[in-house]
């Protein structure tokens, strides 16, 4: 299976790469993409600086030499990027970008793009979902699902699991903890997809779409987390 890790950061992509390469028959490629509001030069400079300053240079060099790292200077939905993606003939994309994908980009991957969403679908779609779950007295969790062009509406859920965040002392640390689990969830999801008896859970659209939370409610959630710590 040919996997493309869609990322805006080489160190973050390396972390996912080292986790998913453990999955049998999995050939992972790093697709370094440009952030939507970033210029081409700034994007190149950012990736170069991270390459020099962050750990993992040796591994990154080996992957570069092996043709496993691809730098995309144009936006994801640009026809030149789409053409390059299609030439790579990837089976699946792993989402690690601050981007919303258009249909054409999703279709460039044979089975689609996987997203580790830090909320339990179908109930919690959209933004600040970890905070909204806690405010409504519900557990935090992660849902790994194949995206579509809507906001967390892709119907195919691979893995959905509650995650204990009671050891986290703040909203920030709880979110960081959940985001840091993305590589593990990708590996587990890929392993599940290989299983013969695997079947998708349905994201049936029965939930609500949530939005950025106000500072007032964020402070309430902060207090709730501290009370549980």
């Amino acid at each position: 299976m040919r996997i493309g890790i869609l990322s805006g950061s080489l160190p973050a992509a390396l972390k996912i790469h080292s986790e998913v390469r453990a999955v049998p028959d999995c050939q992972a490629y790093i697709l370094l993409c440009r952030a939507p509001d970033e210029t081409r030069v700034r994007s190149l400079f950012k990736h170069a600086a991270r390459f020099v300053l962050k750990k993992g240079r040796g591994r990154a060099l080996r992957l570069l030499a092996g043709g496993c790292v691809h730098l995309f200077g144009h936006p994801l939905d640009d026809p030149r990027t789409l053409a390059r993606l299609k030439r790579l003939q990837l089976d699946m994309g792993l989402h690690n970008l601050g981007a919303i994908y258009r249909d054409e980009t999703i279709k460039a991957f044979r089975t689609g793009i996987l997203n580790p969403h830090i909320g339990l679908l179908p109930r919690y779609r959209g933004r600040s979902v970890m905070e909204w779950s806690l405010l409504e007295g519900q557990p935090a969790g992660i849902t790994l699902f194949f995206i579509d062009s809507g906001i967390d509406t892709g119907p195919r859920i691979v893995l959905r699991e509650e995650v204990d965040i009671s050891h986290c002392g703040s909203v920030e640390s709880a979110k960081a903890y959940l985001f840091n689990l993305n590589a593990i969830f990708f590996r587990r999801g890929l392993e599940l997809l290989r299983a013969e008896d695997f079947s998708f859970k349905l994201n049936d659209g029965s939930g609500r779409r949530y939005y950025v939370m106000s500072r007032l409610f964020q402070n309430v959630v902060e207090e709730l987390i501290k009370a549980n710590d």
Partner: protein, 202 residues
């Protein structure tokens, strides 16, 4: 200062020591069927802000288009003059509490989405008076009515968010600047309703 703003100030000054708005809310109830009044949307909003009762009666033969079709109409007019969208909303909600009807969920969700995605993004990039402030404040007022009568905290939080986002010394440039007072009054009612419900639960 308009008589409405002066009345609103008086009402706020009469807030009791628990922070509850005196005389507010009792005139409000979530309708079960499409209702109509003799007054238009803006007059009705001002009355609701003051906690007054609106004489409304069920519409016998409603010609009101379905919520989903109304959302499609609003979407279609997105690129057009803001006044058109403002008029569409005021005509549909001449009895503003109709926004809280069960069948209006698609419209409510649409207004909430517009406020929290597109309008919010625009407001973060530009100054508020570059937007159509009448439409923005009307949407906030309608959302506030639902926030006061429903348990869905997303609507209340949209009001929280705009309270934190809008400039403190802002004077709306639109034709109906008093709608800012309407939004703030209805927001206060929604907060009071939420606090009362929490206390009843405890």
């Amino acid at each position: 200062m308009s008589p409405f703003v002066a009345q609103a100030q008086q009402l706020i000054a009469g807030t009791n020591s628990n922070g509850h708005l005196v005389g507010a809310l009792p005139g409000w109830a979530r309708p079960r069927a499409w209702m109509e009044t003799e007054t238009d949307c803006l007059v009705s909003l001002r009355a609701l802000c003051m906690g007054q009762h609106l004489d409304a009666r069920p519409v016998a033969d409603s010609s009101v288009i379905e919520a989903r079709a109304f959302v499609a109409l609003l979407e279609e007019r997105r690129g057009g003059p803001p006044l058109e969208r403002f008029q569409l909303l005021t005509e549909r909600y001449s009895y503003p509490l109709n926004i809280t009807l069960e069948g209006e969920e698609d419209v409510r969700e649409y207004l909430l989405m517009r406020l929290m995605v597109q309008d919010r993004a625009r407001l973060l990039k530009r100054t508020v008076n570059e937007m159509d402030t009448d439409e923005l404040l009307l949407k906030l007022s309608l959302v506030a009515l639902h926030a006061a009568l429903a348990a869905d905290l997303r609507y209340l939080d949209a009001l929280n968010y705009y309270y934190e986002l809008l400039p403190t010394e802002w004077e709306p440039a639109g034709e109906h600047p008093w709608l800012l007072v309407s939004y703030l009054m209805l927001y206060a009612h929604a907060l009071a309703a939420q606090i009362r419900e929490e206390r009843e639960c405890v």
